[in-house]
């Protein structure tokens, strides 16, 4: 869909949703933001108010056909989770409008714009954010603990409880479905099965809480974005995910997202949750996160083969090799 077509559809659809909330009568400055292999992200103005549109450019059915869909929730369900999260102190944008896949706009939701820096390559190194970085690991621990307090009974039905065994089975099914092309991915899955922790009560996990999905301002954490991989699981999973190598953007000496240290993350979490996550559990989930990232890369390749996506998606398929390398490194460290 061209920007002109999308603008015309939004001009027609948005007045019903924004009347009485945000003044304005048409979309201006509609701009596609770069990045995002699954969903399009557009910035726009409604009157004088900046807004963000998340839109899925292909039908959800195409994704669901893939065994063990790991591309996440529908945008309708993602919007519902963000609304739930807004009831906590976790910084999230306000959701203004939701469209399902039958709407001419396509599956999408419109949300408020939170000022801040979203590009990790900037805020991880820029001196202007040094103060923000100093507190960020602690703040992330706090935010995750708050997310984990969200009442799971309020969630959309697609976000049900699951067991670790079921997730291992799903991962194995995906490896088979994708042609068993990677000895290291299989080695990693076997290791995770052999070292699995006993099932703990599940909490609501953000599921994609990583450096690239955080919005940072001078005070630190300003926004938590991209809730499409939300699911239920053990709390340490979210903490380990934030720490896995691929999301450290080269700052490997700072295990929490490339900006902080385990002790601060754990202390921040404990301050809200009232219990102390164990480092060994966090590190187990780092390995799980590496395997998951490898599976996402394989899914990207599979979608590209089905004609869904552009050259970026084809290229992401090759990033599986980064996940494989990390699986070997992390297991070696664990065994040491």
């Amino acid at each position: 869909m061209s920007p002109e077509e999308l603008k015309a559809l939004l001009d027609s659809a948005l007045p019903d949703h924004l009347r009485g909330t945000i003044s304005g009568d048409h979309v201006s400055q509609l701009t596609r933001l770069s990045g995002g292999a699954n969903n399009e992200t557009w910035q726009l103005q409604w009157g004088d108010t900046p807004l963000i549109l998340r839109r899925r450019p292909f039908s959800s059915n195409a994704v669901a056909e893939l065994e063990g869909n790991i591309l996440g929730l529908s945008l309708v369900d993602e919007a519902a989770v963000i609304r739930l999260a807004s009831s906590t102190d976790v910084p999230v944008p306000k959701v203004h409008a939701v469209f399902d896949s039958t709407h001419p706009v396509g599956e999408a939701f419109l949300m408020g714009f939170i000022p801040g820096e979203s590009i990790p390559q900037r805020w991880l190194v820029d001196e202007a954010f040094s103060g923000a970085r100093h507190h960020l690991a602690y703040q992330c621990g706090e935010a995750l603990a708050r997310i984990h307090t969200i009442d799971c009974t309020q969630l959309p039905k697609t976000i049900g409880p699951t067991s670790l065994d079921r997730r291992f089975e799903a991962a194995q099914q995906r490896l088979h479905a994708f042609g068993d092309i990677s000895p290291v991915m299989q080695f990693g899955l076997n290791w995770l099965i052999d070292h699995a922790p006993s099932d703990a009560p599940g909490v609501l996990l953000h599921g994609d809480f990583r450096t690239g999905n955080l919005l940072i301002d001078q005070q630190g954490l300003a926004g938590v974005l991209d809730w499409e991989l939300t699911h239920q699981g053990p709390a340490e999973e979210d903490l380990g995910y934030l720490c896995t190598h691929v999301w450290r953007f080269g700052q490997l000496d700072k295990p929490v997202g490339g900006f902080g240290h385990y002790s601060d993350l754990i202390a921040g979490y404990e301050s809200i949750a009232g219990w102390t996550p164990q480092l060994s559990a966090i590190r187990y989930w780092e390995i799980f996160a590496a395997l998951s990232w490898g599976l996402v890369c394989q899914t990207m390749g599979a979608l590209w083969h089905r004609g869904q996506g552009d050259v970026e998606r084809a290229a992401v398929a090759r990033r599986r090799s980064e996940a494989e390398l990390d699986i070997l490194l992390l297991i070696e460290e664990w065994d040491a």
Binding site: S34, F187, V311, S321, L329
Partner: protein, 138 residues
């Protein structure tokens, strides 16, 4: 008329040189001329050509490594072109005993695969330093 071989003008262009020419076009002409998503994808495309270039150079070493692995860990009737798949399936069926020798194979293989796909991935520097000695002893 005699032929001066020293003055031969080269007229063929290798596949690696073709890749270099297209990469140069993408980086120097296409990327500056494009905007938004197309500009982003043009950068991605230039990087993809780098993967192809490196794969052409490194693939024979990878095949050699896989051939050696097949003879150690797979039945003799396995197809050499399917070594990675056959090993992955043998692992899934728990038919391979994980020992130091096998781990060394996975490490050596992964260093080559990442050298193709992303030689600048930060973890690779750590892996190279940590594994170099062990792999040289192999």
């Amino acid at each position: 008329m005699t032929r001066d071989t020293d003055a031969t003008i080269r007229s063929d262009v290798s596949s690696a040189e073709l890749l270099a020419a297209v990469t140069q076009f993408l980086k120097e002409r296409a990327v500056p001329a494009l905007t938004g998503r197309d500009q982003f994808n043009a950068r991605v495309a230039a990087n993809v050509l780098g993967i192809i270039d490196r794969e052409q150079a490194i693939a024979p070493r990878l095949a050699e490594l896989d051939d050696a692995a097949a003879s150690k860990w797979l039945p003799t009737d396995s197809s050499p072109s399917h070594t990675a798949v056959d090993i992955a399936r043998a692992l899934a069926n728990r038919k391979i005993t994980i020992d130091d020798d096998f781990i060394q194979y996975l490490k050596a293989r992964q260093l080559l695969v990442t050298a193709i796909n992303n030689p600048r991935y930060p973890s690779r520097t750590i892996a190279e330093e940590r594994w170099r000695g062990a792999l040289e002893d192999d």
